[in-house]
């Protein structure tokens, strides 16, 4: 399958296979006017299979979201069809207003305008817990 190279924009590469669509929604790419391509299950020497997202515009990508969904992913900035910058992501210490706490007993379910904050509690297991109620993060 061939997808045209982009002239100016962003390629999110090495996304764990199956996570591309989730990342697309969490980054709010569905709200963009420019072309966005999601490639699912592309062959990868390193990963076997991977997802790729190509965005035909130089938007600000929230690296915390990329890293949370797929820590192996890389964000490549393309200018005049050349990759000018490769941003490696790493698990952020905190996730702020990225995911919501699913514990119905958590204060975040009723308090107005409260930030949703999760803290990295186990880097190996990629485990985050709600700062308020300690519930494990789930998407």
């Amino acid at each position: 399958m061939k997808i045209d190279a982009i002239k100016n924009g962003i390629v999110i590469d090495h996304i764990a296979a199956g996570c591309g669509m989730q990342l697309y929604h969490m980054l709010g790419l569905d709200k963009l006017d420019c072309s966005v391509a999601i490639i699912k299950n592309a062959p990868s020497l390193k990963m076997g299979k991977k997802d790729i997202i190509k965005i035909d515009s130089n938007i600000d990508v929230n690296l915390d979201i990329v890293s949370f969904i797929s820590p192996e992913a890389t964000v490549n900035i393309i200018k005049d069809e050349v990759c000018v910058e490769k941003r490696k992501t790493e698990l952020p210490q905190r996730l702020v207003n990225i995911i919501k706490c699913k514990n119905p007993r958590c204060i975040t379910t009723i308090e107005q305008e409260i930030t949703q904050e999760f803290v990295l509690t186990d880097r190996k297991k990629r485990e985050y817990r709600c700062m308020y109620c300690d519930t494990k993060a789930s998407i």
Binding site: R105, I107, C133
Partner: protein
């Protein structure tokens, strides 16, 4: 400015200090009559808890301070939809320290972020209840004389019992502690508590479904209520409920110096006949709780005896 949201906000040294102050209050209450003169404690109880609220209020009054507050959400502006953040910002202007109970987990942390005075978590849902743990710790040190090298049995509802989780967290910081976890299968200690505070620290533990079999090994028996609503079916509840009731018969199997603790209220899990046994210290535990709340209020307000 310090707050107390979780028991782990206090180091073991600070807990020792608090117990030392509480011990001194026990021996010399008159020294503390005016420590909190002209200070106000607000007790913001968004859900009823008579004993905890009265303990806080009694603690502040015994220090010469005053109290104000509400005892249920319906009598507060929360019933009109006011946020915790707004209520706390306002009450910060009316009181010098706030003790707060809220049914939602994490509410005291939200409060602490918006308060201009210290916040004490007086219980947030099934999450934390650090002043109960302070009461438990003082009981242990006062009755046993130490925290180290104790075999602590926790019996009943270990799954939902927040006091059990906090006590395990707190006791796991002392040398030579062993845990004996006594509960029906349905109410076993959650794996995250077991992993984070027992297995991770390589603390020896035993799990049992029978109180009779292990009671003789214990230095401390911490009883909790086995609630009917926690069971999936009535049959299981009826089968198991009696095995977790502490009776004078079961007390005969226990060591002469074992202590029985309970966060109260009890329903039927400790027979009233056990109350007369000198090893039963759950009523003394509530008094220690008041003394620890006095020591805590002084610490968070940075007040000492003889200090202006």
């Amino acid at each position: 400015m310090r707050n107390l949201i979780n028991i782990l906000d206090l180091s073991v040294e600070e807990i020792d200090e608090l117990i030392n102050v509480a011990d001194d209050i026990l021996d010399n209450p008159e020294k503390y009559y005016d420590v909190c003169k002209h200070k106000i404690l607000a007790t913001l109880f968004y859900e009823p808890s008579t004993r905890t609220r009265l303990s806080f209020e009694s603690a502040m009054l015994s220090l010469g301070g005053q109290v104000l507050g509400f005892s249920e959400a319906s009598s507060s502006s929360a019933s009109k939809g006011e946020s915790v953040a707004d209520t706390i910002a306002i009450v910060s202007g009316y009181a010098d320290i706030i003790a707060m109970r809220h049914p939602k987990e994490g509410a005291p942390l939200v409060a602490a972020r918006h308060a201009r005075v210290p916040i004490i978590n007086a219980g947030d849902g099934g999450h934390y209840h650090p002043t109960q743990t302070l009461a438990d710790l003082m009981t242990i040190r006062h009755e046993m004389g130490r925290f180290e090298n104790l075999t602590v049995g926790l019996c009943g509802d270990l799954k939902f019992g927040r006091t059990v989780h906090s006590l395990i967290e707190a006791m796991s910081r002392y040398e030579g502690v062993k845990f004996v976890l006594i509960s029906p299968e349905e109410l076993k200690l959650p794996s995250f508590v077991k992993n984070d505070y027992i297995k991770e620290k390589k603390i020896p533990y035993v799990q049992s479904t029978s109180l009779d079999e292990v009671i003789g090994d214990l230095d401390i028996l911490y009883m909790t209520r086995v609630q009917r609503e926690r069971f999936f079916n009535e049959e299981d509840y009826l089968r198991l409920k009696d095995s977790y009731i502490l009776t004078t018969e079961k007390m005969k199997l226990a060591r002469y110096n074992m202590i029985v603790m309970h966060p109260l209220p009890r329903v039927n899990e400790i027979s009233t006949a056990v109350d007369d046994d000198p090893r039963a210290c759950y009523f003394r535990q509530t008094y220690y709780g008041k003394l620890m709340r006095m020591a805590l209020i002084m610490k968070l307000l940075d007040l000492k005896v003889g200090k202006d």
